[in-house]
């Protein structure tokens, strides 16, 4: 084996390894959908965010326009404070945009859905969404349904 051939093989090996790393970064992971630069942060307060996580999607009309970047808790009002970063391209959200937490599919993961309002001014860095609707907790829904069912049962007996 000449030295030249060895060097060529090592070169091929290193190139293949770097290509594999590149493929893992671009094709397998979410790097290609990262565009953190130019995004702006908005916050929203929810009564209940159970199931929402950091890095959950923020969508409008079903299109992902940002991600949840931090979740905090306000110990005075007992509300969850969700900070989300919206990509810089989408800077025309009206001031009175409302936010709700939805579930993808029946048992899928939670995401924040934004709905536009009619205000002329736009959301800016650090603004707060005032109209919010927390996540639906399945146990609460079932509990309400059962208690209502029992009530109507009692009325029927009377």
């Amino acid at each position: 084996m000449t030295i030249r051939l060895t060097e060529i093989w090592v070169g091929i090996f290193v190139a293949a390894g770097l290509a594999a790393l590149f493929m893992l970064a671009m094709k397998v992971s979410n790097l290609s959908s990262y565009s953190q630069d130019g995004g702006y942060e908005i916050t929203a307060r929810f009564e209940d965010i159970s199931g929402l996580k950091v890095r959950s999607a923020v969508t409008m009309a079903g299109v992902r326009i940002g991600r949840v970047t931090a979740i905090g808790f306000d110990k005075d009002t007992f509300e969850a404070v969700v900070t989300m970063t919206v990509e810089g391209d989408y800077n025309t959200l009206p001031k009175d945009t409302s936010a709700s937490i939805y579930t993808a599919g029946l048992l899928g993961e939670k995401y924040v859905g934004l709905e536009p309002g009619g205000d002329e001014t736009n959301m800016q860095q650090g603004d707060r969404i005032k109209l919010t609707q927390g996540s639906m907790v399945l146990e609460k829904l079932i509990g309400q349904f059962i208690s209502r069912f029992l009530d109507s049962d009692k009325e029927a007996k009377n």
Binding site: V10, V14, G17, A20, M23, V28, N30, Y34
Partner: protein, 263 residues
């Protein structure tokens, strides 16, 4: 009474022997690290070693990566289809490869393919007194023989693990999308939505670097510390494979607990 004392004594002997070897291995590690900076001036040595450690391991890594990915695709599909979630096949394949199987299986194969060869080579050099001959010529065998091999292993392991994972993802694609009919777009888009660059891929690379250091360190030490007879070299080679496999699996648990534990 006497036998109790004897077994106690042999236990103590084994214990002190273990710490003696650990100490020797650590001192050797330090000497190798001290020899690493000088290697950048003598890079042809490195190229030669990367060839024998990395390039020659390429075939086994690619073939096993392909098959591991195909098996993951098949098994994942069979489980996921019961829940109607076969679209998530890409996530299952990619996460298990990038986080665990890529680094761990590559390290096990690397220990068998490259680690044993390193130990046998260095052990035989010692048995045929080539290392002593170098010392006679005032050439430090640690810098000339051990350090390039160690650095080559350190350098090759992450590349091999990345190739393993990438080929495995393609293998999962061939079986999942090609044979079983998972949607092509869903395979990639679900994967991209769930695999995180920092949390999954960087941590996988860190794992593979750690395993590369462990395997080559053990291999180089066992060769350098081998009893210079043919039996001693064969025992050292066996020990390399056994010890580095155990060390890789143990370290993997610790690293996984540190990296993915807080969720």
């Amino acid at each position: 009474m006497k036998s109790v004392m004897d077994s106690l004594q042999s236990l103590g002997h084994k214990g002190s022997g273990f710490f003696e070897r650990l100490g020797r291995a650590s001192i050797l590690f330090y000497h190798i690290l001290a020899g690493v900076p000088g290697l950048f001036l003598r890079y042809p040595l490195m190229i030669q070693q990367i060839y024998s450690v990395g390039v020659l391991s390429l075939l086994i890594i690619v073939v096993s990566g392909l098959f591991v990915g195909m098996v993951l695709g098949l098994q994942g599909y069979n489980t996921l289809v019961d829940f109607g979630a076969e679209e998530s096949l890409g996530v299952v394949v990619a996460l298990s490869l990038v986080r665990e199987l890529g680094p761990v299986v590559t390290a096990l194969l690397f220990a068998g393919r490259a680690g044993s060869a390193l130990t046998a080579e260095i052990g035989l050099m010692k048995a045929t007194e080539q290392l002593s001959a170098m010392e006679m010529m005032a050439i430090d065998p640690i810098r000339r023989v051990l350090a390039p091999r160690f650095l080559a292993g350190f350098f090759s392991m992450p590349l091999l693990a990345a190739i393993f994972s990438a080929v495995g993802v393609i293998g999962g694609y061939i079986v999942g999308v090609g044979l079983l009919g998972v949607d092509d777009g869903a395979y990639w888009s679900q994967m991209q939505a769930k695999v995180d660059l920092h949390e999954d891929i960087y941590n996988g690379v860190i794992k593979s670097i750690a395993f590369g250091v462990i395997v080559t360190w053990i291999a180089v030490f066992e060769g350098y510390d081998a009893v210079p007879t043919s039996e001693g070299v064969s025992r050292a080679t066996t020990r390399t494979v056994v010890h580095s496999s155990l060390a890789v699996l143990g370290t993997d648990f610790i690293l996984t607990a540190l990296m993915f534990g807080e969720h």
